[in-house]
Amino acid sequence: MRVTFTVNGSQQTVDDVWEGESLLYVLRERCGLPGSKNACEQGECGSCTVYLDGSPVCACLVAAGQAEGRTVRTVEGLSDTGLDPVQEAFLDAGAVQCGFCTPGLIVQAHDLLERVPDPEDAEIREALAGNLCRCTGYEKILDAVRLAAARRTAK
């Protein structure tokens, strides 16, 4: 089948998509956007988190066909101008190690701050509980989210 959707601001048409393919697969293998990661393929790790019409979803759980006519934003398109404050904070706080969980976490944290500009620690932990990171022990990821929140509210 053919799927047409908007990714990071530009319209994409992908042909010969098999009905069972996930949005994640189409992004990574067919659209040249491997920033979103595949770490479990079944909704358990959050590595594949992208925005679908403004809501964060596990792209591995969305059938490619469901994206038809809709808008997708991935880590590659989070900011039109340089770095988003969340990306910047992940860099500055040292919240990145191997980096495999990072794109999903950044999208998830971005969404949290859009909804809750000044979250409590418990809210951050809960919001990010679906994004597994095996390297950092999460501490610096928390630091990064706090830092991004502080910078966003200061602006």
Binding site: A39, G99, P103, L128, R134, K140
Partner: protein, 696 residues
């Protein structure tokens, strides 16, 4: 030994590849797209032991997109080697359930997956044996344990000493099989050009993969190039090539096109290694004042029928505490299970769970504070080899940790502190990890514009290797980090040891320092402009490391945990976790702190969640995904902190580092279990600390 001047080493430089990672531009193994590529999906054995009678290749070739199906019956022969795990499709035998026995190659991933699912395999199954028990009749004494330690050690007369000891602890502990589960599943893209093979692989050591893979295909190592600039974690499971790498290369050669192969999360539970389950008996004999007279630590472990992997479980006991009479042993049984492999602090991690739990039991038996008990048994020199320690600051870590944690005046009585529904307790345990260093090579090049390039086939699996090597090079070259480009993650670069054994910085850093020193000397001697090609120097540390003085080199640490156990549900939460480490000089406090805390969190995860359950009926691990194999999530971690004590050890390497990748996970589970005992009065000797064990 010459040492590096500290200017940038010791500073919190931002991760040099951080920008690529936060923008999604960093390319991992599976994200390479050579022209004309095809997808491979391997098929796993559905029996735990037996033979493959037949595979119906023809039927799947009819499916859309399918290019080939390869198994023993039609696979090209590999050159025999002593690594039976890598001899893929070279025999009809099935050694464990989940073993890769065939592969389907197709135009798209979905076509390959579907055909792999439909591939009909006929087996002749045999009875399997997958249950580890200490009294297994086939337990044997391996000749050595990993990487090259004596299997057993004995000093004095431990049996008599235990009989006459005024205080005796005799307890048996167990740790389950655990799976590394790095977030990036193992993946490779294999491409042949004539007799030359390129592998984009997710590996902890490009040079090692090249050297292992090349002979299997009968080509010289120079014909194989392994590229892995970014690796999404490994924790030991990407230490050497696993069977999937060989399958990808074999399939690519067979079909004459580049092949992409990703191990799925579910498959990882059979084919990319795991930590062996252990059963450990610890006996401690002591005087009433807590001074140890005897330590005996016996470990029972498993390996597969095809490969002997003998984990060094009791080796930390050989160096931890003073006692005149002592014995450590390892016994192994070969079962119809997947081959175990390295997982973060193999040996030390499960071994120290047992020893440090037993020390807590001894503290209670002697009515001595557990911090004080450890200090009382501090040895002057390595208790078994008699060698001096290059430095040993366990006591400093215990004291500093106790101070920071607020340990003083702790009431030792178990089960008496309540906060709402919670029973509260605190526990302590020591950590240790050996300091290894392996020969490596490096080059350093000065460019005419004042910039430098340093090259070494090191791996950054998330540790921060690229960043700390940049700092080390900048200091040695007397320049700033932004003038230095460090190239790693490619076997075409000067050969290097793998990212494992917490020895990356020590091994690669030494080579980088020597290459940079030689370059500085060359530049100092020269007047006038550099030629267009700049100037390059190289180093090989084989001799330097071979000549190093014999000393007992280890990092130490102390971990303190506070837990709350819900009296209604039995659920345990780690409310506070503090680690204090003595690990030589810390090159980068930002990346180091994250490494320590990451290790401690994996230790918390080991204490409370991680457990691969063997299905005795079918003979494989039952919980094969992240929904059923739990690893600590963000909400499982509360207040966690890692600190280090200053340690200036001149006997290590030019940087004065000890390695920090693994020590963080060592001792954590014991600290948590000891805290659970303090909270509830229930001693959990079998990990993980599940609520049903507390509710009994």
């Amino acid at each position: 030994m010459t040492t590096v001047d500290m200017r940038y080493t010791g500073s919190a430089l931002d991760r040099v590849e951080g920008l690529e990672k936060v923008t999604g531009r960093a390319r991992y193994a599976f994200e390479n797209f050579p022209a004309d590529l095809v997808y491979a999906v391997p098929v796993q054995a559905a029996i735990a032991r037996g033979e493959i009678r037949a595979v119906d290749v023809d039927a799947v070739l009819e499916h859309p997109g399918v290019i080939a199906a390869i198994w023993y019956g039609n696979a090209p022969r590999l050159v025999p080697s002593d690594n039976a795990d890598l001899a893929v499709f070279q025999s009809r035998r099935v050694a464990y359930r989940g073993q890769y026995i065939a592969v389907v190659v197709a135009e798209t991933y979905e076509e390959a997956k579907e055909a792999a699912r439909l591939l009909r395999v006929e087996y002749a199954a045999e009875d399997h044996d997958v249950r580890l028990r200490a009294d297994h009749p086939n337990m044997y004494r391996p000749e050595k344990v990993n990487p090259n330690y004596p299997t057993d050690t004995e000093h004095g007369d431990p049996d008599t000493a235990l009989t006459v000891a005024p205080v005796l602890v005799d307890a048996t502990y167990s740790t389950p099989a655990e799976h590394n589960n790095p977030m990036e599943p193992h993946a490779t893209v294999a491409e042949w050009d004539g007799d030359a093979l390129t592998l984009y692989d997710s590996t902890q050591g490009a040079s090692g993969v090249r050297d292992t893979v090349a002979p299997l295909f009968g080509v010289p190592p120079a014909n194989v190039r392994v590229i892995s600039p970014h690796v999404g974690g490994g924790f030991g499971s990407k230490g050497g090539p696993s069977p999937y790498v060989i399958i990808a290369a074999l399939a690519a050669r067979h079909v004459g096109r580049p092949v992409k192969l990703a191990v799925t999360r579910q498959q990882m539970f059979a084919v990319t290694g795991y930590r062996t389950p252990t059963i450990q008996r610890v006996r401690l004999g002591a005087n009433a004042d807590g001074r140890l007279t005897a330590i005996v630590h016996d470990a029972f472990e498993q390996s597969s029928t095809i490969t002997e992997f003998a984990e060094q479980t009791t080796t930390p006991t050989r160096i931890m505490y003073a006692a005149p009479h002592r014995r450590t042993t390892h016994r192994l049984v070969r079962l119809d299970v997947p081959t175990p492999s390295w997982m973060r602090a193999p040996g030390e991690c499960p071994g120290m769970f047992a020893l440090e739990s037993a020390m807590d039991e001894l503290a209670i038996a002697c009515q001595i504070d557990p911090v004080e008990l450890r200090i009382r048994n501090e040895p002057d020199a390595d208790p078994e080899s008699g060698l001096p320690f290059s430095s040993r600051n366990l006591v400093a870590c215990l004291r500093e940790g106790a101070r920071r944690f607020g340990w003083a005046d702790r009431d030792p009585a178990p089960g008496v502190r309540r906060r709402d529904r919670l029973l509260i307790g605190t526990g302590v345990a020591a950590s240790t990890y050996p300091v290894y260093r392996r020969p490596s090579q490096a080059t350093a090049q000065a460019h005419r514009d004042g910039r430098f390039t340093v090259r070494i086939a090191a791996a950054d699996i998330g540790t921060g290797a690229r960043t700390v090597l940049t700092q080390i090079a900048a200091d040695t070259l007397r320049t700033s980090p932004d003038q230095v480009l460090v190239e790693i993650g490619d076997s075409a670069l000067p050969a290097a040891s793998l990212a494992g054994g917490s020895m990356g910085t020590a091994s690669w850093g030494t080579a980088v320092v020597r290459a940079c020193e030689a370059l500085v000397e060359g530049l100092d001697r020269r007047d006038g402009d550099l030629p267009a090609a700049g100037m390059e120097s190289s180093a090989d540390t084989t001799e330097e490391i071979g000549a190093q003085r014999r000393l007992s080199r280890h990092a130490f640490g102390a971990q303190f945990a506070e837990v709350g156990v819900d009296t209604d549900t039995g659920e345990t939460r780690v409310l506070r976790l503090l680690g204090v480490f003595a690990a030589g000089r810390i090159i980068n406090p930002k990346t180091a702190r994250s490494q320590f805390i990451g290790g401690m969190t994996m230790g918390l995860s080991m204490a409370l969640f991680e457990e691969s359950i063997m299905d005795l009926e079918f003979g494989d691990y039952l919980n094969r995904d992240l929904a059923q194999y739990h690893v600590a999530a963000c909400a499982d971690v509360r207040d966690i902190e890692a600190l280090w004590v200053e340690e200036d050890d001149p006997h290590l390497n030019p940087m004065g580092t000890k390695g920090i990748g693994e020590i963080g996970i060592v001792g954590t589970a014991a600290a948590v279990a000891n805290a659970v005992h303090h909270a509830t009065g229930v001693r959990i000797r079998d990990l993980p600390i599940r609520l049903d064990k507390l509710m009994r």
